[in-house]
């Protein structure tokens, strides 16, 4: 016999053995497999008894001198007590037309066991027998070709990102044994890797410090992994949240770092620790609370970036003296902001609340010394500011529905920005309490409510808010000193109200068609009034009634002589009226002739 034929015979037997084994294995794998039913939850008689007799309406049966007090107390130990109470409940509810028995019926359960096939018809691989036949055919072909070398089979190993794997094991677990955290660790690691590569791709000039980055990643990923809950349901929920947020969060973190390289790459590592602490806090808080339900993903990232901004400038706010994270503070900060915003549904539209919160955070970041007070936690001050701004703007829009159409979110955000710019620029304005901010917000909200005819547009309001907040910040105890029992009594607000009311009256008077007191003229009038009143508070505020009459007369005068008098003339005459009031001058109502002489400078 030819040696080559003997060799071929041996190889053929080996191959058919291999093919046969594969076929048998396939046949075992392709057996039908069970798809278990879920555990059914029954409503028991005890559940029904509890739900009926804990209602105030029926408690008299089982409490006090009720006939079933003893039976009720024995319901957990004695099934006959449950049965008795159940019968009573059935009787009570049937008199109300409700059949309780229907709710005791078990859920529908599958009649038998559900089996699932391994493959759909279109995807089913060749049957085990077909595989043997194919192998045999293959051998036959081989015999014909007399080329025994084709039996050799080679394989290629998969390439891995060595650096990534090494980095991952170094950061997460020295033994490389992740256990249940393995998948999560890999996904977190890849989120960092991808975000890092993207950041470098988009910012080729970025030079990162390896040590800072390692510290940041370790401070983020380790606590996130360690926070993995112990029950499977919670684990799956946690992983889901981390999977969906890790990418955007790490992207946002690295972008913030890129934009603040100087602070991040400083001599100490506090910034790296703080950014890591915040990053892990946002992931853990989002996974274990209902933060994600309250914020959109974009909203959450926006708040997160704003908080990071604060951390980059003031890392010590977020880390303890021993270098560990102030986890509870960070957690409270995110939950606090989301809880406050939740109170005002109007603010959640289009993430308006988030924008306001980021403006507040930005203001804190730029004026950090004005917000830090040893007696009051700064994060508490911050959430209170958000509440204060949110509630006042909400109330103003609620009280004057027309404003909702006038104000886009951009105006409300700008108003917030203007107020905070003025308030926060003045040292010690916020510390300890928010009295000045409260005063400004109340003044703005009340003034807005008064503008029923929308005489002022969004830009006008921004100017007025600027005037009010500047005055409140510069002279806090003068025109805008808040009386919490009667916010309308603020001196400056009385003056604004007088002007807005006067403008409302003028515009509603059918005989006063040529009124000029609206828009720019009205906002400028408020500006003039506040500036003069700031210098002559007592005299002007003591003359509000004559001032009101003088305003009405001025409105009538200007609208009656449109050819001679317009907006500019109105403002000049108004300033003269106010000056005369501040000088305690009685002559504050003019005729047209007097007005013309005054305007020409021929009369004082």
């Amino acid at each position: 016999m030819e040696p080559s034929l003997i060799l071929f015979g041996i190889k053929s037997i080996m191959r058919i053995k291999q093919a046969g084994q594969q076929a048998l294995e396939q046949s075992a794998r392709d057996q039908e497999a069970i798809f278990p039913d879920l555990i059914a939850i029954d409503i028991t008689r005890l559940d029904i008894v509890n739900s009926v007799f804990t209602l105030p309406k029926y408690q008299h049966y089982v409490e006090g001198i009720g006939d079933y007090v003893t039976t009720w107390s024995q319901r957990h130990d004695n099934t006959s007590s449950v049965d008795l109470l159940y019968l009573l409940a059935v009787k009570i509810k049937s008199e109300e037309g409700i059949d309780l028995d229907r709710w005791l019926t078990r859920n529908e359960t599958a009649a038998g066991i559900t089996f699932i096939k391994q493959w759909s018809e279109s995807s089913e691989p060749a049957s085990p027998l077909a595989r043997i036949i194919l192998t045999a055919a293959d051998i036959a072909l081989e015999y014909v070709s007399t080329n025994p070398k084709v039996i050799g089979v080679g394989s290629e190993g998969e390439k891995q990102l060595a650096a990534f794997a090494e980095n991952l094991s170094e950061l997460i677990d020295d033994q490389g044994n992740f256990g249940t955290k393995e998948g999560l660790a890999e996904r977190l690691g890849s989120a960092f890797l991808r975000s890092g590569l993207e950041a470098i791709a988009e910012n080729p000039q970025w030079i990162s410090s390896k040590k800072h980055m390692q510290l940041f990643i370790a401070n983020t990923s380790k606590p996130v992994l360690e926070a993995l809950p112990t029950s499977l349901a919670e684990q799956l929920n946690y992983q889901q949240v981390v999977d969906s947020l890790a990418g955007p969060v790490t992207n946002a973190a690295l972008n913030t770092i890129v934009q603040n390289q100087q602070a991040f790459l400083g001599d100490d590592f506090a910034t790296s620790k703080a950014t890591g602490a915040i990053t892990q806090a946002v992931l853990v808080t989002a996974a274990t609370g209902d933060l994600r339900e309250r914020f959109s993903e974009e909203g959450l990232i926006e708040i997160y970036q704003s908080v990071l901004g604060v951390a980059i400038n003031q890392p010590e706010l977020f880390i303890e003296n021993d270098g560990t994270a102030k986890s509870q503070l960070i957690n409270n900060l995110f939950v606090g902001i989301s809880t406050e915003l939740q109170k005002y549904p109007d603010l959640s539209k289009g993430d308006l609340g988030v924008k306001i919160a980021t403006v507040v955070l930005g203001s804190v970041n730029r004026n950090i010394t004005n917000f830090i007070d040893q007696d009051t936690p700064w994060e508490k001050t911050l959430t209170e500011m958000i509440t204060l701004i949110g509630s006042n703007l909400s109330t103003a829009l609620e009280e004057n529905g027309s404003l909702k159409n006038l104000f886009s979110n951009d105006y409300l955000i700008e108003i917030t920005r203007v107020i905070l710019r003025n308030i926060a620029a003045t040292p010690s304005m916020i510390i300890g309490n928010n009295e000045n901010l409260s005063a400004v917000m109340s003044a703005v909200a009340i003034a807005m409510e008064k503008d029923k005819h929308l005489l002022l547009n969004g830009d006008d309001w921004i100017k007025i808010v600027d005037i009010i907040s500047y005055e409140a910040a510069t002279n806090p105890a003068r025109l805008f000193k808040l009386n919490t029992d009667d916010p309308s009594s603020m001196a400056g607000l009385q003056l604004i109200t007088l002007l807005v009311d006067s403008a409302n009256l003028a515009v509603s008077d059918p005989g006063n068609l040529a009124t000029v007191l609206y828009g720019d003229t009205l906002s400028e009038a408020i500006n003039i009034a506040i500036q003069l009143a700031s210098r002559h508070t007592q005299t002007i505020l003591g003359q509000l009634t004559p001032l009101k009459e003088a305003l009405q007369a001025l409105n009538l005068l200007v609208s009656s002589h449109p050819q001679q008098l317009g907006s500019q003339e109105w403002l000049m005459l108004f300033e003269i009226i106010l000056t005369r009031v501040s000088n305690a001058d009685d002559e504050i109502i003019f005729t047209i002739e007097q007005a013309i002489l005054i305007l020409k400078g021929e009369q004082q």
Partner: protein, 250 residues
């Protein structure tokens, strides 16, 4: 004659080949038998079955780690996951499921075993919650709502897997059976406050739980299953709305 030849070939190959295939077949048969026994009315038989499933889960996982064929490993992990789930070792079910699933992903396989490895850990988590719920006072809505949120997370997670299950290569019953169980979570388990607070029927509609379930039907992933005619989930939604209306008017 042809059948005889086929039998001869199978007998020869059976005689020649290694034992791992029989172990896989045995493990699968054991799983079916033990699962059937868990449904027995006899408490001892039931307990023995659960103990057997725990052992089977460990053995199958060991076999999976020893085996050199990827497909066999996946099948063993499917058995290990199912057995751990049914023996109430939920965390273990999650771990086995994850290991098996990673093999499916790296080998681009989407057969029945891979579909089951994708969803069974979530279903195991559902059972874990159901046991927790049964021990909870159903009049305590606060405790219930915590469990409720976790149920909700699992429904969203499962519905995200729908397109993978639907477009996979598994037997045709896998997708509808998956959808059926998703429907069961929403309509039977998450609706407990609606059914449980029977005395409160008139206020059921508009409660947080009611609104949450309604909002779940608006989730884009859940909607995808509802709009898929083969899922039959539309009828679950209709049933839920219909039930709620009944409660409202009761």
């Amino acid at each position: 004659m042809r059948a005889t030849k086929q039998l001869i070939v199978l007998l020869i190959t059976s005689f020649l080949f290694a034992c791992s295939s029989f172990e896989l077949r045995d493990a699968n048969n054991q799983l079916t038998n033990l699962y059937s026994a868990t449904k027995s009315a006899n408490a001892i038989e039931k307990l023995n079955a659960i103990t057997g499933l725990k052992t089977l889960s460990d053995d199958a996982a060991n076999q999976a780690e020893k085996n050199i064929t990827i497909e066999n490993q996946i099948s063993f992990y499917r058995i290990a996951t199912t057995a751990a789930w049914q023996s109430k070792n939920y965390l273990t079910a999650g771990e086995h499921g994850k290991k098996g699933r990673s093999l499916c992903v790296s080998n681009n396989l989407e057969n029945r075993d891979c579909g089951m490895l994708l969803t069974f850990p979530s279903f195991a988590a559902v059972d874990e919650l159901s046991i927790q719920l049964m021990a909870t006072d159903k009049t305590d809505l606060t405790s219930f709502m915590e469990i409720f949120q976790l149920y909700k997370g699992l429904v969203i997670r499962l519905s995200k897997n729908w397109s993978t299950i639907k477009s996979g290569d598994a037997g045709p019953l896998l997708a509808p059976e998956t959808a059926k169980r998703i429907g069961e979570i929403i309509c039977e388990k998450m609706s407990i406050p609606l059914r449980g607070n029977i005395a409160n029927l008139n206020t059921s509609k508009g409660t947080k739980a009611f609104n949450e379930i309604k909002s779940l039907f608006d989730d884009s992933n859940v909607k995808m299953i509802i709009n898929d005619p083969s899922s039959n989930l539309k009828s679950v939604q209709d049933k839920f709305i219909c039930k709620s209306d009944y409660f409202e008017n009761a």
